[in-house]
């Protein structure tokens, strides 16, 4: 089974690395991820361009917010989700 690579960066601050997961995987995953973590900050790392548009839409529809989308390399982004 394919597993998600995730770490705790700090207090209520997590990073889930979905680089290597093509679209639409990040969009499908974020709903469950946002539901699962209680509160704080979740950095979702993605490398498919569409995720930078799709993921924020799903997050907003769930009543949470995307505060930053940072390009961290060629074809790689960090989406900062706050709950």
């Amino acid at each position: 089974m394919r597993e998600l690579n995730a770490i705790q960066v700090g207090d209520h601050h997590y990073q889930v690395d979905m680089r290597g997961w093509v679209c639409p995987y990040p969009k499908y995953a974020v709903e469950g991820l946002v539901r699962k973590f209680d509160r704080g900050r979740l950095d979702l790392l993605v490398d498919c361009p569409s995720a930078t548009e799709d993921v924020p839409k799903v997050v907003k529809a769930m009543g949470c917010s995307v505060t930053e989308i940072n390009q961290i390399g060629g074809g790689e982004w960090q989406i900062v989700i706050m709950k």
Partner: protein, 386 residues
Amino acid sequence: MNQVPFRKRAWPLWVGAIALAAANVGMFAFMRAIGVFPQMSMWGAQVYNLLGVKVDAPFTIYPLTPLLLDVHSMINFGIVLGVAAAALLSEEFKLRKEHWTGYVAALAGGALMGFGTVIMPPCNVGGFYSATMALSLSGPLTVLGLLPGAYLGGLLMKWQTQRAVAALDFNAMPKGEPVRARSSSAQPLIGAAVSAVLLAAAGYYASAGLTKHAGLLLFGALFGVIFQRSRLCFTSAFREILISGNGTLMKWVLVSIALGTIGFALLKANGYQPMHFVLPVGVHTVVGAFIFGVGMSLAGGCGIGVLWRSAEGYTRAWVALLAGMMTAGSWVLIYGKHVGEGWLYGKPVSLAQYGGYVGGTAIVFLFLAAFYGFILFVEARKRERA
């Protein structure tokens, strides 16, 4: 939010939809409409012949031809170069490796698309988008297969994602250092170089008297840029209607088809290539479209989608592309005849048979309105449940 420079900003969907329709009408007026898989199935047949297995290309109008001399393949090469240039200029290129399960999915998805393209025929963009514009009865019918097929493929992907998310435990995560942003890349420079190669290749063909080759190469690149910048993904358009209850992409695709249909009908009504992209129609249309639909979801893109992602550096798309062309390229060995011949295929039917080009266009618009209405219904149901 950080200010994003223009070259990195995605184009609005409406811009992509209008540009795509204009490009398709323009390329039809120049020579032919968009469609990429029949050429790739010819590439597959070429590989078999190189390996010593004698097999004819599955589509008779795309005969075995050296790739760099094949006028239709220019569209594919143009798409690859156009996408690569656009992705590099916007710093979205990356050599993306996959988990082994992704390569298995790509292999299966590519093979299904390969079979789908010769049974339907041809691919999602050619068989649905261009064929509907061209007033082929087969075009609207492909939806009956592509929609459930893409849904099934999407369900598999969603199930895989949900399992991975379920296995995460936020209370027992290892501690680690966050990923840091890397400094600026050389991608825009390489993108400029790819653009120069594209223009030089088009210039070379034109100077050799092969103006159709040069033209289709440039049109292909235009399509590549439009797809890459507007992210108008047809696979996503079909898949997300039923998976997410979101039909935004498909609604813009339908608007694009409506605009293009007017252009195609005007050209055809004036006697220009009246049977262009009018394709065989029958049960095979729906069956082939279903197989293709499942395949494109698993592969992560339809024919154009895998060309596009290949040029963005997705190795999963490379596998799908190879699997698709090798499967479709073997069709004459498997079936014994070409696409469109024999018991499997019906006859091509033009909607212009029903009330001329005005009547045919009206039928296409009725279909588009019905499909649009269906999407609105699905979206309303989704909102009710939320």
